[in-house]
Symmetry: C3
Subunit: 121 residues, 3 copies
């Protein structure tokens, strides 16, 4: 789980948009973009909990796993969601206290790709 | 779980919008619109897993089920979410590889209704 | 779980926007804004089910709980989500039958704060 808040802020700054909405979504279907606290203990809890909810093993317990072995990663992404939509106010991400944006990949060492789209004026 | 990607693409084309955001949400509170892979084994895994997380039976174990029997469907929808927001770029849904839009109804044979709203220019 | 639909409708009316998108998100990372049915039995089922999925006790089972005791609340919020995006049509929230907006706080008596951002014309 990687903190991408600064990259999102840079994209917003580059856009010049002052008031609007910003969409940030994972481009991979075994990954999530989500907002929560930047605390390493909590992220470990998130990963442990997701593994308990949708265990990777036994791989053969999932029907998706024919030639693949990542059905659990698709389920984990469904729990944590694909995207966040963030308000943009006075040119900044309009956050409450402690809100940070994270990318979580649940299928190992895949290439990570995020889409950021901003509309407004 | 029904692939509605083509219907969403048609709505986008009809709108004439080239750059913006597209919202697609279920209009029923026991249903989800979500984005994932179009693979029937995976969809079977999704349904099995949701049933394990929030079993339909015993119906009497839920307090909502007074005259109704679909509390589990409301919970399943909460896990999978109500809506997706998709970036529109050059007149197209701006998707990563394998992203497809699905409608999932968790309460049997209900009428399915989706709302698509697009803003941009 | 508090029904905030009327407050959202008031914010929309004040904005004067007739066509667009409305974002409503929790500003706290142990809370969710979500859309479902306004039925107290169902809300009790939601809370029971969330507690079963991510129990508060034993507090020591979570690595986040050093000086805090709310790791479970962060997880519950991840399941139920942070935000909703609602279509605005003819100056109104464009809802299906029974859709209502709720604020759910999973960490006790915290101050509740919601952000509403509306774009359109």
């Amino acid at each position: 789980m990687i903190d991408i808040t600064q990259k999102v802020e840079e994209a917003l700054k580059d856009s010049g948009i002052k008031e609007g909405l910003l969409l940030c979504n994972a481009m991979h279907i075994t990954a999530s973009v989500f907002i929560n606290d930047n605390e390493s203990g909590l992220h470990a809890d998130f990963l442990d909990w997701l593994e308990k909810m949708a265990p990777h093993e036994p791989v053969s317990s999932y029907r998706h796993n024919v030639g693949e072995d990542n059905a659990d990663a698709h389920i984990k992404r469904q729990i944590f969601g694909r995207e966040v939509v963030i308000a943009v106010t006075e040119g900044k991400l309009h956050f409450g206290p402690w809100e940070r944006v994270f990318y979580g990949e649940f299928d190992g060492m895949r290439k990570k790709r995020v889409l950021i789209k901003i509309i407004g004026e």
